[in-house]
Amino acid sequence: MIKNRKALQRVLRLLLYVLILVITVAVVFPLVWMFLTSLKTRDQIFVYPPKFLDFKPTFSNYTQVWVELGFSRLFFQHNLCCNMDYRNQYCCGYSGWI
């Protein structure tokens, strides 16, 4: 009886891990896919069937964003906004507490 119980517990434990794995894959897949796409060239993106890992990664998209779009400037501005918002939330938190 006790042995059965232990076996049951192990099976349940295994099921738990499988469930966690399945959910994690389902949840993160879009993000992983986005990341993989960011490493592809235009030709590699527009193919069917889609390539998962069998392509030669390139960082040209990143350099392009950084150089041609001025990413550092956008990043700075974005952070400025976040900073303001953070201060705002901080003050609001206190006034809510009072």
């Binding site: 738990l16 891990y17 469930l19 966690i20 959910i23 994690t24 949840v27 993160v28 879009p30 993000l31 896919w33 986005m34 796409t37 993106i45 527009f46 193919v47 069917y48 069937p49 889609p50 006034s95």
Partner: protein
């Protein structure tokens, strides 16, 4: 002078004086636009033609006859209920899993929170890419797994579009419910479970009679919050389908945008927005009631 002095000596007066700046700000940035918007709903105003006629309830009369409005209303209700239910059920399941001790718990929790942390525009673009009917990866995977026989059109077909955007929105909003429910689960006293086990309650019974009743307040608040947020939701639908194909994913929020800034009919757009406001006010009242009740229970 002595009168003023006496007035200032009273604590409540000073308190109100301190409130004045905040109140002025609130009226200026919340009250004024609100009044302006509601006022616009009774006018025929366009951004192209220099007209601004008072039409009374004309806009609302038109609203009742407008099939797109009813479609958008129906879609909004479906959308709101679907996302609320899915995100709460998913959030509950995931919170229950995270509440178990297992290896790598911290990492899993962080990963499951990711969709919430990324910007909506990034999420929409990412999903738009995945949903692409011809080169999208979702079709490929589902075909490979044998779940579907032929490629689906997702956001490009009116029969699947609403479901597709709901999936994206649920994916984006479940982490919040998960986090809130996890906090709720962790506040359940462990002794109750031990006592339950002593008395021979099975795991299912412990869940039903200990966990659920103690989680109910959190679930109630979450339902109302999700309802309000999703009823207002605009960006995912706008970025993925812009209300199309046809009016299949048209929500009230996107319809307001299309009418007010696409067709530049500010008055009619405001009328739709007023209808939304009324519905939302209803739910806000419910939320405040619930909140008050809960606070009363806590102070007991």
């Amino acid at each position: 002078v002595s009168n003023l002095r006496r007035l200032l000596d009273r604590e409540s007066v000073v308190g109100y004086l301190f409130l004045v700046p905040a109140f002025v700000f609130l009226v200026a940035i919340l009250g004024y636009p609100l009044v302006l918007g509601v006022r616009l709903a009774f006018y025929e105003k366009s951004l192209i033609y220099p007209i601004s006629n008072f039409v009374g309830l004309g806009n609302f009369q038109e609203l009742l006859m407008d099939p797109t409005f009813w479609m958008a209303f129906k879609n909004t209700i479906t959308w709101t209920v679907a996302i609320t239910v899915v995100s709460i059920v998913l959030g509950l399941i995931m919170a229950l899993i995270l509440n178990q001790p297992f290896r790598g718990q911290g990492i899993v929790r962080a990963i499951w929170l990711l969709p919430w942390a990324i910007p909506t525009i990034v999420a929409s673009l990412c999903w738009k890419w995945i949903y692409d009917p011809s080169i999208g990866v979702l079709n490929y995977i589902l075909l490979k797994l044998g779940i579907i026989k032929e490629p689906l059109l997702y956001i490009a077909s009116s029969s699947t579009a609403l479901v597709s955007v709901v999936i994206v929105a649920a994916w984006k909003s479940y982490p919040f419910t998960m986090l809130a429910l996890l906090a709720g689960l962790q506040s359940v006293p462990q002794e109750l479970y031990e006592a339950g086990q002593m008395d021979g309650a099975s795991a299912l019974q412990r869940f039903r009679y200990i966990t659920m009743p103690l989680l109910m307040p959190v679930i109630g608040i979450l339902t109302i919050l999700q309802f309000i947020w999703n009823f207002n939701h605009f960006d995912i639908v706008y970025q993925l389908t812009q209300g199309g194909p046809g009016d299949a994913t048209m929500l009230l929020s996107t319809y307001v945008y299309m009418v007010a800034f696409g067709a530049t009919r500010l008055g009619y757009g405001s009328a739709i927005a007023v209808v939304m406001l009324i519905v939302l006010m209803l739910f806000t009242v419910i939320y405040l009631r619930l909140h008050k009740k809960q606070n009363a229970e806590v102070s007991l």
